[in-house]
């Protein structure tokens, strides 16, 4: 196994006592706890990690964090535990980690798709839009090829075996980012006793402090001491929660912030014990938020800027100081600002050769940077730019020439060649304003740093920014800013504490940055590629072409060129792209503005979004009190909303058809029993209860006698049927309403809304009692005998207890409300008892009905029974576009009073003559059962499209009582077509002839209601 050749002998925040082994592209390598995959690869001298998205150019590790566009790897093996598109710069190393390059074939060194690079002149911006124009069906074919060529990693193909969790949390102050600013803010807030949460995406808290060299100081204190001391203080505070490995990915309204905690991603899968959570999604409501998200370094846009071995200078410094890895043995630097000098100095101190610093500023660096460069004997090429780099799979040389004063050209002849195995570049720093912008903060372009900074804070969020993310760079500034923001946030959250002591010193002054958004090549006639977005292979030329082709909005340029649309979301290159577009438009960046930042900041796994809401916990399953009996007796269930209802009860050897026929016949010939518990029930009380019902139902309610029941239709304000049910008068001021099973919650809200907002003068109280009552429905000529056999103090005689009436009393020794109503047009009772007695009552009913061969029936038989009578089911025979008149139910619509929806029934659309109307359909072949939803047409032959549609079948069954099929349908002018022959289109392309009939198929006179 190759030793970590690039690892320094000492230093860094790694645990050298415990070497870890891992593989990359099948090669066994070694690293240490504290490493990322990227630092361990660099320590082993591996730069080349992947191929670019479009041109398949060799790409190396560019950065050390979430901004990484190149080093995307496939982690893990197998079909379940493999993760695509993982940034090697963020993957924490563990023993046995398996990683591989993606988007390469056959290997990262020899990738055949690199032919795309040679063909690149043929693949400009918008190539796909321009080339794969049509026909539209062909896109499906193009897409497969393009996906393979421009793919990312592989998704797992088997269920994820890991456990994902979610957690709500609340705090006074949420600090996002645990660098110098964030930790200082947390400390200041924590000292007030505030409930503080500190989150940071890295495995270790400290942010940029972790990348400082040994001996670095802030305000006279060693950085390492300051960090250790701060963390110790925070850990000792009871109300402070520290969450490393946690990304704040989304900032939503009213300080609602989404966090993804990678609890065990760094634990080898084999060691994730039972019950261990892999990732946790936090949903945080914070009184105050302190954004201390730091800044991300920009690259420089110069020719050939994408070779492996060209890296961000700040990242090179992080690898050196935090991971004790020198990313190269001979490191040239290339910069437009002072920050790269810190990297150069740290490298020189670590014994790395630094052949020169190419600085595009003619005046060179600021005084402090110039002094340290001189102290370490570093050569500065002030006013130079890198015009080309060389090295096929790794940089080996950079050529620099003098840059013209306007930055557009180079002066010929003045060329310096720097031999190097690493080129560390810095184009300045972009404050990490993603969350600020997601929170609807407005940004301002700050010329002095060449980037966007927080400007207008949204009034709906309690938020402040501290340190580099506010555009204030420097460690001392970060500490001061953080302390101040933390103390202010705590105070704003209502906590008090002493004002923090701010650092006495200040950061050394830096020289000004020189903004040059793209840099020239030495050969304008033979330009090399200048990459702006590494991930999506977007070059400066692509952006300029987009502008020439008329894309003047940055949002359009982004989509046309795909700049910033990769997995890195352009964290490094977006501002540079804006600079190039602005220049091409002859405008300033401030004028053209930034593209929108949207969540998530970095990807969130689907597992974390689902959390524990998987399998049986996905959604509540509502069971009635009698459910276990139904299960034990072989019921097949159907879902009605969240409820499980028995659909039918097949006996041995029966299919659904046979079972339903048997159940339907029994309910008409002897007695059937159904579990009707799921119907919505609302207790209505108050002196104005009858008036209230009179307004919400279409029919009249004022004169309903006590002890009587009435069927009612409810309409929406649009006049369309919304719900129906039977409501009963238990007392002068007391009603019991029933609703459909699916409509229960909606009707309750609807009624409360009218009472509370429109009719507060009505003295009415509503109480949902859906689950208070278990309901056993008896249907059939023998049902009276069954109720009597249960034992009751209610007089069941037809005179004392007629159809459509209610009695309260005892049944089987239990207080009950018994309704004599029927949805099947038979003698029927619905016995309501407190739900706890539901199961026992059901069993008592089965025993009492045994002499009559009582037959439990499910929802399918119920549907057949009601369809035989032409009774509608709201939501099946109606769909929100159906009026009472369409259903032939004008008889239930009062002409004497007002009610909800009445005015809409007078609209020209609701009174037009050619509306669809509910009718019955009888097939010529009595055994043929139509498909529900089937379209109805006028002719036996299906004509050429568009086919005139007359309507559709809403309900269709076989009726054993009639010995034939029956169907309900909504048909244009249906009631004027009685006796007419129409045709129903079947799924196989044939048509079925039907005769239009009355929707009441059975006992139209209603003789059976008395048994």
């Amino acid at each position: 196994m190759p030793g970590p050749v690039m690892r320094l002998a000492e230093g860094g925040r790694i645990d050298r006592a415990r070497p870890l082994e891992f593989t990359f592209n099948g090669r066994a390598l070694r690293g240490y706890p504290g490493d990322t995959l990227a630092s361990a690869l660099l320590a082993s001298g591996v730069h080349l990690v992947g191929r670019s998205f479009k041109y398949h150019r060799p790409r190396g590790i560019l950065s050390a964090g979430a901004e990484e566009p190149n080093a995307l790897v496939q982690l893990g093996t197998g079909a379940a535990r493999t993760d695509p598109n993982q940034r090697a710069t963020q993957v924490e190393l563990f023993d046995g980690l398996v990683a591989a390059s993606q988007n390469v074939w056959p290997s990262v060194r020899t990738d055949l798709s690199a032919l795309n690079d040679v063909l690149s002149p043929l693949m400009p911006a918008g190539f796909y839009y321009k080339t794969f124009m049509g026909p539209s069906w062909a896109w499906m074919q193009y897409e497969k090829v393009i996906r393979r060529a421009a793919g990312l990693g592989r998704s797992p193909s088997e269920p994820d075996p890991d456990i994902y969790d979610q957690r709500w949390a609340h705090c006074d102050v949420l600090v996002i980012g645990a660098g110098a600013a964030g930790l200082s803010a947390a400390l200041a807030a924590g000292r007030t006793g505030a409930r503080v949460m500190v989150v940071d995406e890295q495995s270790e808290l400290g942010g940029g402090l972790l990348g400082e060299p040994a001996g670095a100081q802030i305000d006279g204190r060693p950085v390492s001491d300051l960090l250790a001391d701060t963390l110790a203080q925070l850990a000792a505070m009871d109300e402070v929660t520290l969450l490393p490995r946690t990304t704040a990915f989304g900032y939503y309204a009213q300080n609602f912030v989404g966090l993804l905690e990678r609890v065990a991603d760094h634990v080898p899968p084999g060691e994730r014990t039972h019950g261990t959570v892999r990732e946790r999604l936090w949903k945080v409501r914070a009184r105050e938020v302190v954004l201390a998200t730091g800044a991300i370094e920009r690259h420089l846009a110069f020719p050939d800027n994408d070779r492996p071995g060209i890296m961000l200078a700040g990242s090179v410094r992080t690898y050196l100081n935090r991971y004790a890895v020198k990313a190269g043995d001979r490191v040239a630097l290339f910069t437009n600002n002072d920050s790269a000098y810190a990297a150069a100095v740290d490298l020189a101190r670590a014994g790395v050769a630094v052949p020169g610093i190419v600085d595009i500023r003619p005046e060179g660096p600021g005084a402090a940077a110039a002094a340290v460069a001189a102290e370490h004997g570093l050569a500065v090429l002030a006013g130079y730019t890198v015009v080309a780099t060389h090295g096929r799979s790794h940089v080996r040389q950079a050529r620099a020439m003098r840059l013209s004063s306007d930055g557009r050209t180079v002066q010929s002849g003045m060329e310096t060649v720097l031999d190097c195995d690493l080129l560390a570049m810095s184009g300045g720093w972009n404050p990490t304003v993603h969350l600020f912008s997601q929170a609807r903060g407005k940004l301002r372009f700050a010329e002095e740093i060449g980037s966007f900074v927080p400007d207008l804070y949204p009034p709906t969020q309690a938020m402040r920014c501290a340190g580099a993310c506010a555009g204030r760079f420097g460690l001392t500034a970060a500490v001061a800013d953080g302390l101040d923001a933390g103390a202010k946030a705590a105070r704003a959250a209502g906590l008090d504490g002493p004002a923090p002591t701010l650092p006495a010193a200040a950061d050394a002054a830096e020289g000004p940055i020189r903004l040059a958004w793209h840099l020239p090549s030495a050969r304008p006639d033979k330009p090399a590629k200048i990459f702006v977005d590494y991930h999506n292979d977007v070059t400066a030329k692509d952006l300029k072409l987009a502008v020439r082709e008329g894309y003047t909005s940055v949002e359009l340029v982004k989509r046309y060129t795909t700049t910033g649309m990769g997995t890195d979301q352009g964290k490094i290159g977006n501002v540079t792209a804006l600079g190039i577009v602005a220049e091409a438009l002859g405008a300033s960046i401030a004028d053209i503005g930034a593209t929108t930042y949207r969540p998530p900041y970095t990807a969130v796994t689907m597992g974390a979004i689902a959390g524990r809401r998987i399998k049986r916990l996905f959604d509540p399953v509502r069971r009635t009190p009698m459910h276990s009996w139904h299960e034990a007796h072989g019921a097949v269930f159907e879902n009605v909303g969240q409820w499980k209802r028995p659909w039918y009860y097949p006996q041995a050897g029966e299919d659904m058809h046979a079972a339903v026929n048997r159940e339907v016949a029994a309910a008409r010939r002897s007695v059937g029993v159904i579990d009707a518990t799921t119907l919505g029930k609302i207790d209505i009380q108050g002196p104005d209860a009858a008036e209230f019902l009179n307004r919400v139902y279409t029919n009249a309610w004022l004169k309903l006698g006590v002890g009587k029941c009435r069927y009612g239709l409810m309409l929406g304000e649009d006049g369309m049927v919304m719900d129906d049910g039977v409501t009963s008068r238990l007392g002068d001021t007391h009603f019991h309403m029933t609703t459909t099973t699916g409509g229960a919650a909606k009707v309750m809200s609807w009624l409360e809304n009218w009472l509370q907002t429109e009719w507060p003068d009505l003295k009415v109280y509503l109480t949902s009692v859906t689950e208070q009552w278990a309901v056993v429905g008896l249907c059939g000529p023998k049902s009276r005998e069954v109720v009597a056999a249960l034992g009751t103090d209610i007089d069941l005689s037809g005179d004392a207890f007629p159809h459509m009436s209610v009695c309260e009393g005892e049944v089987a020794g239990v207080p009950a409300r018994v309704f004599r109503i029927s949805f099947a047009g038979e003698l029927g009772y619905e016995i309501n008892v407190p739900a706890a007695y539901g199961a026992a009552l059901w069993q008592a009913v089965m025993a009492a009905g045994a002499p009559h061969n009582i037959t439990p029936y499910g929802t399918e038989a119920m549907h057949v029974l009601r369809a035989e009578k032409g009774f509608i089911i709201v939501g099946q025979d109606t769909d929100g576009t159906v009026t009472p008149g369409d259903l032939g139910m004008d008889w239930i619509v009062s002409k004497q009073k007002d009610f909800l929806g009445r005015r809409s029934l007078l609209r020209s659309d609701t009174v037009r003559a050619d509306r669809k109307q509910l009718v019955g359909l009888l097939t010529e072949d009595a055994q043929r059962v139509l498909d529900e939803g089937a379209q109805i047409i006028a002719t036996a032959e299906i004509p050429e499209p568009p086919v005139p549609m007359l309507g559709h079948v809403t309900s269709s069954y076989y009726s054993p009582n009639l010995g034939r099929s029956i169907a309900l349908a909504l048909v244009k002018q249906g009631r004027s077509r009685l006796g007419e022959t129409l045709h129903v289109a079947a799924a196989d392309g044939s048509t079925v002839p039907v005769t239009v009939a009355s929707p009441v198929f059975y006992d139209p006179e209603g003789k059976r209601l008395d048994g």
Binding site: H170, V277, R285, L617, D683, V833, A835, Y837
Partner: protein, 208 residues
């Protein structure tokens, strides 16, 4: 008159929940299906006085708890309360409330079977609830024995308050904060399964 009295189910019979002692468990669960729950609607001084004459406490403000002796009143809205007490007193108290409120515009509705109660205790109780409930249960934010919230847990509507010592008879929860979740009967199955799952790594004790 019938000679049989039917047996009562508790809504979770199908889960065959058995008492499970585990002194290491950080989560403790109990199902209390048969408490009396009476929904009260009304308002004004006469209503308050009538309720106080029966329950022993005036109806509290929305979001607050009040009580005396065996009864707790939870303020659910400006004109709505839930009275919680012992099942054995349910009929008498219902009758007494109706008599005391006679002539007023008020409603007294028995919802004892509409709702059931799951009690969540143990040192991990608040954490387990935070797994699926947006309410802030931190002692600073959730005012102990005086506060009731209507929120949701595991996408189920719940009425939630912290157990008042000596009120529920759940002596086994003594020593740690516990919470009463009052929820519609058919959702108990989902909430119970969710809580048992939440306790998979910290241990679950189940009280009879």
């Amino acid at each position: 008159m019938a000679e049989t009295r039917l047996a009562r189910g508790d809504g979770l019979d199908h889960l065959h929940i058995a008492a499970h002692a585990d002194t290491d468990a950080k989560l403790m669960l109990a199902h209390r299906p048969h408490r009396a729950k009476i929904n009260l609607r009304g308002g004004g001084p006469a209503f308050a006085a009538a309720v106080a004459s029966v329950i022993g406490a005036e109806p509290p403000a929305p979001g607050s708890l009040a009580g005396s002796g065996q009864w707790t009143l939870a303020g659910l809205g400006p004109d709505e309360w839930l009275a919680l007490g012992d099942d054995s007193a349910r009929q008498d108290v219902m009758g007494a409330l109706r008599s005391a409120l006679d002539g007023q515009h008020a409603a007294v509705v028995d919802v004892s079977d509409n709702y059931t109660t799951i009690v969540v205790g143990g040192s991990a109780a608040a954490e387990a609830l935070a797994g699926a409930c947006p309410a802030d249960l931190h002692p600073r934010a959730f005012a102990g024995s005086h506060q009731v919230v209507q929120t949701y847990f595991a996408s189920v509507d719940v009425i939630l308050y912290q157990t008042v010592a000596g009120k529920t008879g759940d002596a086994d929860f003594a020593g740690s904060r516990s919470f009463q979740l009052i929820l519609r009967r058919s959702f108990a199955d989902h909430v119970w399964r969710w809580l048992v799952d939440a306790g998979r790594s910290c241990g679950v004790a189940i009280l009879a």
